[in-house]
Structure formats: C-alpha cells, structure tokens
Symmetry: C2
Subunit: 434 residues, 2 copies
C-alpha cells in the first residue's frame, strides 16, 4: 500500500490519444471550460507527469496496487468500507471484443486505483466520453477492482461462443441447486463481474460506472449490489447485521496456498487466481431481534460481544467442538453455525470469506405485511475449488445449520478470478486468450 496517489506506471497514458479521436489535451481543455487552469487545480484536479488527470484528496490518497505477480487486489486486501459489485451479460459474439474489453478494463482499473480520471471509449460508434468526475477531490480511497469470468464466457446452452470451452476450468462448475434457496433472477448469474472495493462509496460507484460505460456494445449490466462494512480505521473482525463478529476463522499464510489460490490442477491461465462464489443472503432481522442474546449465541456457537467460542473468553481462543458442560452436553450445539462451518466438520476445507452488509430498504418481495427489511449479507467466498469449498460446506449448512432459519439466499453467482495483470501493457485474463 502506498501513501500517495501517484502511480508506479507514470509513463503510461491513461487516455488513448489517437484511437478515439479525442486527444487528452483536447479532453482536458473541454473539462470545466473557462475553469481549466488555476481554477481546475484548486478544485483538486491535477496532472500526473504522464499528463493523465489525478484526483486530489487527503489521507484518502492511500492506494492499493492493481498490478502484481500474485492474485488480484480486493481478495486478501484489508477490507475497505464499501463495495459495489456488478455482474454483466456479454452481448458480443466476437472473441476479439471480449479481449479488447478486458484489456481496456485493466488499463482503466490501473488508472482508477491511483486516483486518475479515465475517458471511456465505448465499443460503439461514439468517441470517448470524459470521465463522469464525481470523484474529484475524493482521492483513491484504497480502491481495488477485481474482475471475474463466469461460466457463460466458456459455454452457453452447449454453444462454445468464443472458442474458449476447452479452457474452462473444471472448478468453474455451474452451481447446483441448494435446499431452501430462493434465488432472484435479477441478483443471480452473469458472464463478467466487477468487484470494486474502496473506503469511499462514491469512489467504488465511480469505478464501476466508468468500467460499465466502456463495455457498451460488448456487455451490459445484469445486476449490481452495494455493500458496506465498518469505517476504514476500525480494527478487529467486523460485525455483521446480526451483531456478531464475522470472519474470525479465515485462511491465512500457508492456508491461502492450500485452500484459496488455484494451483497446478487449474488451467495455466488461472494459476495463482481463485474462484469466487457470491451469495446475497437475506437476514430476517425482525425475527433475529426477538431472540435473546443467549439464544443467538447458541445459534452461532460464539459469544456475541467478545466473539469467543462458547465457554471461552477471547475471540481467537481455539474452537473446541468436543467441549461439554457439567451434564456432558456439548457447549457448542450440534447445529451451531461455527460447528457446521468449521474445517473439522468439512474434511479440513476452508474458504476465504469477505463479508459486506447490504441494506436495500424494505421489500414486499422478501417480507410480509408490514414490509420487511431487504437487508443482509453480501457474502464473497474465495477458494481454490468450489467443489471442495463452498458447495459441500453450504450443502451441509443449508440443511442443518441453526442459522438457516434466519437466512434466505436470494442471489448467487460463480466466477473464475484470474491472477492480477503483471504490469502496464498486461491485462487480467490475458493468458486465457493466448
């Protein structure tokens, strides 16, 4: 993480000057009319040495690197306070369009990550449009943009639409139907995904907005979901809307290699990447709030305030599933969430969870009369192979987890998340096409 909004790729132009009929200087001259000059700079717009505009800001100029030799950002990156997730349907029939889009996306994401404005060049007839500019003055806010490729990139209804079927990873399965799912079509599936995370909601919105503009003629929005987390300076494991710490046990260190990053079993273009399963999980907040803390703790298997396993005193105390009370009953119930989700109960498997809360107001669709909260958990899980990770774990949970009586999965998606682009001139997913 750098402290300044200046990039490691200073020499790279963020706005292609010749390919779209609008030079960067022409673009800048059009920005703000008479205000360009001292006024524009006072307003927080400045030029990097590459001439690309860089958004001003305060301490929010902290950046996360877009490029790298490992996984994409936004997976093990310390969770930013806001996410904006978008799923797109691909409309083009040309493989070249898809390649060009992914290339343009990576170029733009690298600029956005260091707080630069971009100039979307849609694939239609129009020339590049200027950035929408709602982020001027906001800084880069630790923006990460994480791209994913869904099953539809490889095959749709048996059709090998882009000649990529042979490169589909075995781990990128179509998700099975889970018991008690109530999936909403408008929150499920998609061919391409953008996960933008930032410490400012407007910065995350802006990133997705500009990337979607670039996709015109190639892909269009299918669904999006906003999520929030704690404020950036919060410390410790964040609490979800059930009031419990969420994410205490998460793979780290060598466990990441074992359980999260795709290895030699995946095709070469995916190695070092991961597979993302997204679930939009409605929480019956009204019902949950009628339960005593003690009852809630029995459901979860942890103490609410401390996050400690039942019977223990600190959050990171070992989860002892064999502990019993004086009557010989298990301290952590047989249907407690932490028991059924634990590696011990899942053949040693772990998934990397990255949770955000969502609040979409109230809805008759998920509620009754009066309206119920349309709120819950936007659950991102990353794993080396969903056939060993999310799928079997959730098969168990959906059937037996005491928590399931308070939750309904309303959205679902699986994508392959390739490793990061190596550097300027490279793009996420590049080796899929070569």
């Amino acid at each position: 993480m750098h402290d300044e909004g200046e990039a490691e790729d200073e020499g790279r132009a963020s706005i292609p000057a010749s390919s779209n009929g609008l030079s960067r200087r022409g673009f800048l001259a059009s920005v703000g009319g008479a205000a360009v000059g001292a006024g524009a700079f006072a307003a927080g717009l400045k030029l990097a040495s590459s001439d690309a505009p860089v958004v001003g800001g305060s301490y929010r100029n902290a950046t996360e690197s877009f490029y790298g030799s490992g996984p994409q950002g936004g997976i093990v990156t310390s969770a930013q306070s806001n996410t904006y997730f978008a799923s797109l349907d691909v409309s083009t029939e040309k493989r070249r369009d898809l390649e060009d889009l992914l290339r343009s996306w990576s170029d733009a994401a690298a600029d956005l990550a260091v707080g630069r404005l971009v100039s979307p060049a849609p694939f239609g007839a129009r020339s590049a449009e200027p950035d929408s500019m709602e982020v001027i003055g906001l800084g880069s806010a630790r923006l990460t943009v994480t791209f994913g490729l869904g099953p539809g990139i490889f095959e749709v209804d048996g059709v090998d639409r882009f000649g990529l079927r042979a490169r589909r990873p075995a781990a990128l399965v179509d998700l099975p139907t889970f018991p008690f799912d109530e999936l909403i079509a408008q929150k499920t599936g998609g061919d391409l995904t953008i996960q933008a995370c930032a410490d400012d909601p407007q910065v995350a919105f802006h990133a997705v907005r500009e990337l979607l503009r670039m996709a015109e003629g190639v892909a269009s929005i299918r669904w999006t979901q906003v999520g929030f987390n704690e404020t950036p300076a919060s410390t410790g494991t964040p609490r979800n809307l059930q009031g419990f710490k969420d994410g205490t046990i998460n793979p780290a260190g060598a466990q990441l290699e074992e359980f999260v990053w795709a290895g030699a079993e995946s095709p070469r273009w995916m190695r070092g990447g991961t597979y993302l399963v997204v679930r939009r999980i409605h929480i019956a907040i009204e019902d949950w709030d009628t339960r005593s803390v003690s009852e809630q703790e029995q459901v979860i298997g942890r103490h609410k305030v401390s996050g400690a396993p039942l019977g223990e005193s600190a959050e990171f105390d070992a989860l002892d599933l064999d502990a019993t009370d004086s009557d010989g009953n298990p301290l952590i119930a047989v249907n407690a969430h932490v028991r059924l989700a634990s590696p011990k109960e899942n053949r040693g498997q772990m998934i990397l969870r990255r949770g955000y809360s969502y609040n979409d107001g109230v809805s008759a669709a998920v509620g009754t009369n009066p309206p119920a909260y349309d709120a819950g958990l936007l659950f991102f899980s990353y794993q080396r192979d969903p056939r060993k990770g999310f799928i079997p774990i959730f098969q168990t949970l959906a059937q037996n987890d005491a928590l399931s009586q308070f939750t309904v999965h309303t959205g679902s998606l699986i994508v392959a998340v390739p490793p990061a682009a190596l550097g300027p001139g490279h793009y996420v997913g590049e080796s899929l096409f070569s």
Copy 2:
C-alpha cells in the same frame, strides 16, 4: 461537537430498569454470557458512570448533541457521510401511545448519539430486548437522529385520529401533484420519519433499527432509503452523481432565520423547527454520461470541475444571471438549472438543501432493456414554509428546468420537524401534546 463519546447526561439511565421487567444489570449479565467481564470490556464495550453501556471506538467517538435549544441535529450539521432514512405508518389509535413512542425515541436517540447501546422496549407484550450490538467498536460517528411528523398525525381522510387536527401547521400541506412525477407508493408518504446521519453506515443503520424495534405496536416501516455522501474528512461542496458540486448556494447565517426556521406564523410547538420535503430523484446516468461536459454545463449553468457559474472562475463567484456573451446571448441559459432554482427567479426564496446520493442497484422499473441504474439523489430540503419554498420552486423547475430531462422524481414526502428536545426528560414534539 465533542471529541469523546461520553455524554452531557451522564446521570440519566438509558435502559429503564423497572418499567420492563429487565434490570440493566440483568441485561448486561445476559450480554455475552461468560464473556461479560474483562472480555466484554476488551471487546470495546464499556460502562458510563450511569452504568449504561457505551460503545468503544477511535476518533469516530466524535459526537453531535441530540439535545439543544435550537433545531434538531442533522439539518445544519455538517453532512455526515451516510444517511439512513425511514418513514413509518402509525398503526395505533391511542394518542398516548404516540406520545410514549416519541418520548422513548428521544431518550434512545440521546443515548445512541453518544455511542450507547439501548434496550428497546416495544409497546407489545414482550419485555425489552437487548441492543442488536452491530455497532460495538464503531463509536458514535457523529450520529444525528432527526424526527419528523407527517400530515397523517393530524388528519387521515378527514378523521382527527389523535385530536391534534387543530394543531396542524398551515405550512404542513399535503404536497400537490407535480408535472412529470412518477412516484412509487413504496417510496412516498408516511406519518413519522427518522433521518439518521452518521460517518459510518452501520451506525446509521443501527440507530434506525433500534428505533423501529421500539415502535412495534405503534408504528411500522413504510419505506426506507439509504444514502451516501463523501467520506467524512472531505472538504468543500460535495459532488452528486452527475459529477457537479451540489449545494453551493445554501442559506446561512441570518438567511436561516428568514428561510429555514419556523417563526411566529407556525404554531408554538413548531417554532424554531422546520419543514422537510424529501424527494427521491432518479438520475438517468446512462443518458447523462453521453453528453459532453460542455452540454452538461449548459444544463446546470456552472462549470463542472470548479463549480463556478458559467463565465466565472471560482465556485463562490456571484451568480450573474444577466451576463451575456459577445453576441448578447445569456451566458447562463434561460432554462439552466441554477437560473431557475436561484432566489432571484423565485421571489427571493431559498431552501436549505442536504443532498445524499443513493444507489439501489439496477431496476427494470425505472429502466428499459438492459436494466438501468436505480440511482440518483436523495434530496432533503428544509424550509420555513413549503408553500413558499419547495412547492413553487419545484413547480417552475419541473416544467422548465433543462435538468428535468435527466431526472424523474420517484419518491416524495413532507413532514414537520419540531425543534430539538431541550434536554434529558424532554422529547421531540413534546409541546405538541401539552
């Protein structure tokens, strides 16, 4: 604004110990089970000298005062980065229930504003429930809670349901139908409103959640809306999703007395309060983004980057509506937004605007195929009299404003916002009932 989460009302109990059959100590003992004690405090929960739990936090312990001799917080309070707005329908037929709810709400809001947990005592048969606790560790985050009373408190279909009809302020009119409105029932109207603003979305969510729980049996959710603004440390006028600074001309100083705070023309219980008109304004982002910056600037009447009036160089340069170019044409178009919204074009009237952006994903309801952004502006306007403020100003704008071609008003509401509660033992709206 204080820097610490400790309150000026230390001596006041936040959880009524005797009225609901659950003592505060009993409540605390139930929190976290065995973890209560050193573990609970380490986890960020601590007790004020009043024994009421206070949520720990970092610099986010900054507070805004709930009590005061002037208007409620959240109106001229420097805009927090998040808002969560809730509108409720009153279901009780007893005036006493309504009074009790407003009293309980003020007591709880005062506690929430200093980062305390609360223990909602619903009006039904159940005893008080513990706080939902998702804010432990988050601090008070400058939370403000602003209560409003809609027309339905005074009269519904000609029925004086609570014997308050005679006290209805003349300024609390039923809003007229405006040209081109496309109001959604689920985002319009309501008898009671809660506007929670905070520098953390989870803190704002929690406040509304706990207050709604208290309303059980008296009022229920009608609709809610989440909004976001810039991060708390941002300086200057924030930008809306159209990329323009929004709120440059806003009443201040003596203008607040003249245009915002209710005076002697309002009933006594409203003096020093204000009237809030809320509009949920969809922005056709896809269309807006196809327009050149120059065209956008013509629509607004200001430069995009600097915020200066067209032809000027700085945001706060005077808005000269008579300025012309070398051909004698007005620099600011006759249908430009800033012209038609200006005091000069509105008999000198001003309204206090407090804008948040919203992003509810994508929706077929407001879009076409493919789905369109369900995003835009959550517009709070405060005024001394909506018959002189929002209503005539927007009548003009809806018909003629160049900006209207990019916006659709989908939600609407008017409420009376009484002055703040004077201090502990008092509550917002108290003098309406005495």
